[in-house]
Symmetry: C2
Subunit: 341 residues, 2 copies
């Protein structure tokens, strides 16, 4: 089967946006706060809203997408911690409903109620709820809840440890994924996302996080940002800094997805990133929506690139499409085993 | 000939560091200010200080390096604008002395006295001095003088226009190069540099800078950050945003160097970046100093990678090693023509 580990709900019904407007308007004028977090969205509207994802999944031969709220929509820097708490619940609940309505197509990953300067410990109740009650198999962790100003500590700081403890206890991986940028220097999908990936990896090189959390698993999306392209630089920096070789230091715990929107990029990944660390993903319908005039196919139809890499055997591709995802997301594996047993 | 367009003076004599300490100590205690900006460094000490660069240049078959002050040392965020002015003059003067002592090996590129929140217009006198008086052929422009907090406007903002006007008038390219990071999230050479490159390119996609400055030339170092690896993403984002194709929109004005420290990275560049936009560079002695145990050669011996790319002919390699540099740095070309005439 083909598992896409990185899909966001980017086709939300208007009612969700209307709720968010009311919620944020309520910061300025309490009278405008939404009366309820029941959005009044019918199952029919929900199913219809993911028609684009279902269409692409079918056309591209995908089976199952790990589906989470719109990454740019998390906007942890906006409002207050209470706003983030309420917004995360609402967004996660919608994902849960979609996954319950279309269990063959979607499995949930969650948004955490982070807020800049606030301990990630406060996210634990929502993390437990989405995993234990909603059956989510993963979660997105924003390394920069300040939205482009990077005012919280690096991922290797003890600030984040309570969350890592809980992730290990629950056996759930985190995708390190920033949200929108309120810094005009950073276009969100064109700079902030890619910078977030690159930054996270370098923080992990500098630190010793996996000595403290040997079972923690982190997925770096968008092919790992700049990391595979600069693999020699990262190997060399680790070496100059007296860190262990990257394979030993990080690659039992750090994984990369295939959200790289051209064949040469995926071919590069095939050359430098060990096979066990590559997980199939497309992030559709996401950052890039168009059709590449050079190929006549959507830029984000990443399956085509994976299929074209000559160095990969059918067995290799099976790992990328399914095996690695089931290993990195054990709760997904359990779910799939239950279904087929 | 082989021109390395990206070398920094990372082997400065102790006297330069002592001066900097006094200069910054003077912020807290005026009595500690350096009495003079004459560092008392002899020509002999200067020549000796660049022995490592000369050795590598010779061993690797390089001829000439465009040499600028240590990028991390610019530290525009430190102190005050006056500190930055004084520090830039001192650093540029040292580069000038080295280039005068070893004119066959080094040609100068300068550091600008930027300071966060201050108009780049204030850098024009130093820019004119280094080009007109010191004979420098290029300059480093820091897109984030705040050192990892990105509080100044994007490069496409009119904030920067006075500097671009002067660069065009002088016919001098700018390398977009951040300095050290005072944000603990960003390792300077492992995250901040690469993020700076990626960020700058995306800003240029969003803007229309080269409509206003059709002759401005910007060099994005470190292979363009994440850009070649995500070339499909950038092509697709430009397309989704209704921008012209990248070749038309940016590639008459934006160039990438080859500071990518492994063969697969350079091979990727060869696949996606037009030949006319690639300039040879190694940034030695710089970010990565070690020897790659996989090859037995220094990571930053980038000539070996360029030589190994099968897709490039001898003529192509000539462009990368020399032709493109002479086109992008016309004052270098004039200098070399004068020497051989």
């Amino acid at each position: 089967m083909i598992i896409d580990i990185h899909g966001h709900y980017t086709t939300e019904p208007a009612a969700l946006h209307a709720f968010r407007d009311k919620q944020l308007a309520g910061l300025a004028d309490a009278a405008r706060r939404p009366a309820s977090s029941d959005l009044g969205i019918s199952d029919e509207v929900l199913v219809k809203s993911v028609a684009p994802q279902l269409k692409f999944q079918k056309e591209r031969g995908g089976d199952l997408t790990i589906f989470s709220p719109r990454a740019g929509g998390m906007a942890h820097h906006v409002g207050s911690e209470a706003i983030s708490q309420q917004w995360s619940r609402v967004c996660n609940d919608l994902i849960h409903r979609i996954c319950s309505l279309l269990p063959d197509n979607f499995v949930g990953a969650g948004q955490l109620p982070q807020f800049p300067g606030v301990s990630p410990k406060n996210c634990i109740p929502e993390l437990e709820r989405i995993v234990n009650e909603l059956g989510f198999v993963g979660v997105n962790l924003n390394p920069d809840p300040a939205g482009g100003y990077w005012t919280d500590p690096p991922l290797t700081d003890r600030h984040w440890y309570p969350l890592y403890e809980k992730l290990c206890e629950l056996d759930v991986p985190a995708m390190i994924h920033v949200s929108s940028s309120c810094n005009p220097n950073f276009h969100h999908t064109g700079a902030h996302y890619i910078n977030g990936d690159t930054t996270a990896f370098m923080q992990l090189i500098q630190g010793d996080l996996f000595k403290d959390f040997p079972t923690l698993r982190l997925v770096i999306p968008h092919g790992g940002g700049a990391v595979p392209f600069h693999w020699g630089r990262y190997r060399g920096l680790a070496q100059d800094m007296g860190r262990p070789p990257l394979a030993e230091h990080l690659l039992s715990n750090v994984f990369f997805d295939t959200c790289v929107y051209h064949l040469p990029g995926i071919e590069l990944m095939a050359k430098v990133i060990p096979l066990d660390n590559i997980l199939f993903a497309s992030e559709m319908v996401g950052a890039v929506k168009g059709v590449d005039p050079h190929t006549g196919h959507h830029y984000d139809d990443t399956r085509r690139y994976v299929d074209q890499v000559k160095a990969w055997s059918a067995e290799d591709r099976h790992k990328i499409f399914e095996g690695n995802a089931r290993r990195v997301y054990p709760r997904l594996d359990s779910l799939l085993r239950k279904r087929t047993s």
